[in-house]
């Protein structure tokens, strides 16, 4: 899949797909082929081994039986001589004759007879070689001993190299020729056949006879007495090995090299068409493999004929013959069947060559077909890949036409569908992009227009301190009439002295490195949110950095830096807003001056009003005194004048006294109830005519540490306010109380009350509801200041029934307990 969609290394991937397909086809096709080939070869080899091994075994067994029969036949035929009555009788007589002699005498006789034989005594020689027994031996050789009409095979006859007979003492008693020696009792064959008088057949291992210049073997048979009680003589027959066995063995040939071989258990070859008789098998390890007591076949590492190839060898023991030979000399005789491996495995090798050739042909076909098939698969995929890449690049194309009729065709349809969908989506996107671009252009235009319409100069510079943008106002200020100013160095436009330039440059650097958030300067935030004391000196310092003044072209500008991101991915631009503050500061100065004058006017008007009324009264009274003769009345007028004077003095005291007295007096422990009572009396005195009922309910309250006159003035002012509010008939309830929170004074009148809109203003200076001259508007202000200064609170509220309630509270002073003790004492 990835081979189609990835476009980076298309050529490499293309080849990979074909290679993969060819490889997988090879794997699927060639691997089983090779495995099958190998298995067939292996199986074939095994089968050939088994079949041939079994055949070789059968042949070996068969030949062994045959040779067994040949040997047994020869033995039986020769044994006929040993049961001949004449011979047995003669030998019994010989025995009895010897037994009659003493051992020394018999030994002497033997020696004498041997000497005669060696000397070639004609009588003795005649008796032995021409006597009746010798005749019987010759008849045996001739084959006419048993049945003259049916002579024994010429082979065994001609293979016989010697045939003679000894008696119980080993003396030669008959022979077909002169060759044998005379005494044989010490020879192995004689002792083997005599076997301590018991007698048993003897077959010697083959041995080289130097006299005959050939390999021979001996068959020795005991001649038993007529009772078969004991051996009385021995018959010996010597055969030429090659001549004896060759007719039975060397004729058996098969194929070019297949043959049968007779060996003994020492590995000596008795008869073989290839190896000469008497040689020993070259490989000593082979001998035990092929000479067990049972017939069989083996896959031997060598062939026994000098070859080192793995060989299939069939073998079988000569059961009956081996029984005799083993009893005689411990050596067994065995058949050995062998064929050369080359010949044996020739068919399977030919088969292997043929199949290998077919295999190579098959692999070649597979590669070719695989390449063709892979090409058929990969070609349309390559087309699809090309199409996908072009779609990926945005080059829309005609629909892919593919008629493979398989998954690739479906894939092509899918890609066509994808192509169409992408095309339609891209079309929508383009119109949207155009729309957005237009919007952005409008936005830019409008922003520019907005900025141009702003009367303040706005300048934006890049971090490199070149001009990014200038609005119309700034162009006017900087007297840029035409030409493109963008990109010009910022300081080139501003005509500034070097000190200011350095300062501005420093500020730009500061803004650059603390540009977040860009638009709202950091220093503005604490001003608006934390409500810092505007009189704080440090605050001025902070704002001074960003709100400083700049003189350009004889005009003063306040300016502020800000940081703004104009281009995505670039450093923020630094903006500079200038405001022409030349007129503004002038106007502000005038305004402050005006405000000062206005408040002075109000104050002087208030004081004037306050003082004017008593002054008019004094003037009137003074005129009355001038015209009055009655002393009593004059006194009365004078009294009034004094009163007015006092009042004026009180008004002036109201303005000034608080300042003067507070430095003269010192704090003492004050009984509030006493102060209150005193204040009521003072106020009552001011309103003699009015029928006002004062209800006093004073509880014992802790003393307060304060300045007595100050507190008294505060209470007086509050009470005055209450008396004035009643204006005529009414009741004033005054009570004091104390709890853990503090001391509480409550003054409730039944006056007109306070309009809700006036409530917030009652403690403001010069606020009054009274007519001209009735009040200064400072009474409650003074009371408020005093009480607050003492740590207390004063509050006015409208009584729901009628009038106003004034609450004054003082916190409990820490020194109360001690002061109370002082009071008590």
């Amino acid at each position: 899949m990835s081979t189609i969609l990835t476009s980076e290394t298309p050529i490499k991937r293309k080849k990979g797909l074909t290679t993969k397909l060819v490889l997988s086809m090879l794997l699927v096709g060639a691997l089983p082929l090779l495995i099958g080939l190998f298995l067939a070869f292996y199986q074939g080899t095994q089968k050939i081994q088994e079949v041939n091994g079994a055949s070789f075994e059968a042949l070996a067994t068969e030949t062994a039986r045959k040779i067994d029969i040949v040997v047994a036949d020869e033995l039986t035929r020769t044994a006929l001589l040993t049961t001949d009555v004449d011979i047995v009788t003669f030998l019994e007589e010989q025995r009895d004759a010897l037994n009659a002699l003493s051992p020394s005498a018999s030994a002497e006789v033997l020696q004498q007879e041997q000497a005669r034989w060696e000397a070639g005594d004609p009588d003795q020689a005649h008796a032995i070689t021409q006597g009746p027994i010798a005749e019987k031996l010759k008849a045996q050789i001739e084959g006419t001993f048993i049945d003259p009409g049916h002579p024994i095979p010429i082979i065994t006859r001609s293979a016989t190299r010697a045939l003679y007979m000894t008696d119980i003492a080993g003396r030669l008693i008959a022979s077909i020729d002169h060759k044998p020696s005379y005494l044989h009792a010490q020879e192995p064959w004689w002792q083997g056949a005599f076997h301590k008088r018991v007698g048993q057949p003897y077959l010697s291992p083959i041995a080289f006879d130097p006299q005959l210049n050939t390999y021979t073997f001996t068959l020795a048979l005991p001649i038993m007495d007529r009772l078969r009680y004991e051996a009385v003589g021995i018959l010996r027959r010597v055969y030429d090995v090659k001549e004896f066995f060759a007719p039975s063995i060397e004729t058996i040939r098969f194929g070019k090299t297949g043959h049968v071989m007779l060996i003994d258990s020492r590995g000596v070859v008795l008869s073989c068409p290839i190896l000469p008789t008497g040689t020993t098998l070259g490989d000593p390890q082979l001998i035990p493999l092929v000479t067990p007591m049972q017939a069989g076949w083996t896959s031997a590492p060598s062939d026994g004929h000098g070859g080192q190839d793995t060989s299939i060898i069939g073998f079988a023991p000569l059961d009956n013959t081996s029984r005799i030979t083993r009893a005689s000399s411990g050596v067994g005789w065995h058949m050995f069947v062998w064929q050369s491996s080359e010949e044996l495995f020739a068919p399977i090798q030919q088969f292997f060559q043929w199949t290998a050739a077919f295999g190579i042909l098959g692999v070649g076909l597979l590669v070719t077909l695989g390449y063709l098939a892979a090409h058929r698969i990969s070609a349309p995929i390559r087309r699809l890949q090309e199409a996908a890449r072009r779609i990926g690049r945005g080059e829309f194309q005609e629909p892919i036409v593919m008629t493979t009729g398989d998954e690739i065709e479906e894939l092509a349809e899918e890609i066509n569908r994808m192509n169409e969908q992408l095309a339609s989506q891209f079309a929508g996107l383009e119109s949207q992009v155009a729309l957005k671009t237009q919007e952005v252009e409008y936005l830019q235009e409008s922003t520019s227009q907005i900025l141009d319409s702003v009367p303040d100069p706005v300048i934006m510079i890049t971090p490199e301190e070149t001009i990014e943008y200038l609005n119309q106002a700034s162009k006017n200020v900087l007297a840029i009439t035409n030409g493109n100013s963008e990109g010009r160095p910022f300081f080139e436009l501003l005509n500034l002295d070097p000190a200011t330039q350095a300062k501005l440059h420093q500020e730009i650097e500061a803004v650059k490195h603390s540009s977040l958030p860009p638009i709202v300067p950091k220093t503005q935030e604490p001003n608006t949110k934390n409500l810092k004391d505007p009189l704080s000196q440090t605050n001025w310092g902070d704002t001074g950095d960003t709100r400083q003044e700049l003189r350009l072209n004889q005009r003063t500008y306040r300016y502020r830096w800000f940081s703004v991101h104009v281009h995505p991915g670039k450093d923020a631009c630094i903006g500079l807003v200038l405001r022409d503050s030349t007129e503004e500061s002038l106007l502000q100065d005038q305004l402050i001056q005006g405000e000062k004058l206005a408040s002075l006017g109000v104050l002087s008007a208030g004081i004037g009003h306050e003082l004017n009324n008593p002054l008019v009264g004094v003037i009137g009274l003074g005129e009355a005194i001038q015209d009055e003769d009655n002393m009593e009345n004059m006194k009365g007028y004078a009294k009034d004048i004094v009163q007015h004077g006092k009042r004026m003095a009180a008004i002036i005291r109201d303005f000034t006294g608080q300042i003067g007295n507070q430095f003269l007096e010192s704090k003492t422990v004050i009984d509030i109830n006493a102060q209150l009572t005193q204040a009521i009396n003072v106020v009552k005195g001011q309103f003699p005519s009015e029928s006002i009922t004062v209800n006093l309910r004073l509880e014992t309250i802790p003393p307060l540490r304060a300045k007595p006159y100050e507190l008294g003035q505060a209470l007086t002012n509050v009470l005055t306010n209450a008396f004035q509010a009643i204006s005529g008939t009414g009741t004033i309830d005054i009570s004091t109380s104390a709890n853990e929170e503090g001391i509480h004074i409550r003054i409730a009148d039944t006056g007109a009350g306070i309009a809700p809109s006036h409530l917030p203003k009652v403690f403001d200076p010069f606020f009054t509801t009274k007519g001209q001259g009735e009040g200064s508007g400072l009474g409650l202000t003074v009371a408020y200041r005093i009480i607050t200064k003492l740590g207390g609170q004063i509050r006015l509220e409208n009584n729901p029934k009628q009038g106003t309630i004034c609450h004054i509270t003082f916190p409990l002073s820490v020194e109360h307990p001690t002061t109370r003790k002082d009071d008590g004492s």
């Binding site: 048993q200 007495d225 009680y229 009893a327």
Partner: protein, 198 residues
């Protein structure tokens, strides 16, 4: 024939022991009042009982049992076929061992229907004895025979086929001249030969 396997050593020791017992008993029996000699009839009877007992034990307890359990077969070619000797071979081998021991006493199996010709009657006396035993199998045939100047005492005892294995083998062997034996039939005789002139 040479006996090379361990089985044969076992048999040899068995037989030698039994043979050795005979003179011991003889000495003990004759010690109080020594007679001049022991009659050869007695000696051969003793020997025959031992020979017969040994072979019967081998036949019944070894050959028959092993063959019935399927462990090992008794075959004529036992040496080359992982088998054990036939009971008749057992007797042949023990006979050979006794002969090789050089004590003079010999025994062998003979038959009028031998599988191998060498086991036929060697003399006219043996032939006649076998024929007589057919009529009176329980009476051993005895006599004195000569070989040249040598004299021997011979006792010939009837030998019957005691197990089915004996019968089957003799009836089916390719070289067997008679093939209608039945269990209990007289199949031949055991000849015990004792030299008299030594």
């Amino acid at each position: 024939m040479n006996i090379t396997t361990s089985q044969c050593f076992l048999l040899a020791s068995l037989l030698l022991t039994s043979v050795a017992i005979v003179p011991t008993q003889d000495l003990q029996a004759t010690a109080p009042s020594p007679p001049p000699s022991l009659s050869p009839e007695k000696v051969s009877d003793y020997l025959h009982s031992i020979i017969e007992a040994d072979r019967n034990i081998y036949t019944t307890y070894v050959v028959k049992r092993m063959q019935e359990k399927g462990i090992v077969l008794a075959r004529e070619d036992w040496e080359s076929s992982n088998a054990i000797p036939l009971p008749a071979q057992f007797l042949h081998y023990s006979s050979k061992l006794v002969a090789e021991s050089g004590h003079g006493v010999r025994f062998r199996l003979i038959s009028l229907w031998p599988i191998h010709r060498r086991n036929g009657p060697a003399t006219e006396f043996e032939r006649k004895a076998l024929e007589d035993l057919q009529d009176a199998p329980d009476t051993p045939q005895r006599g004195i025979v000569t070989s040249g100047k040598k004299k021997f005492f011979q006792s010939i005892y009837a030998d019957k086929g005691i197990t089915q294995a004996c019968i089957i083998c003799h009836n089916s062997h390719p070289l067997s001249p008679k093939r209608d034996f039945q269990v209990g039939d007289l199949m031949g005789g055991v000849v015990i030969t004792i030299p008299l002139d030594e």
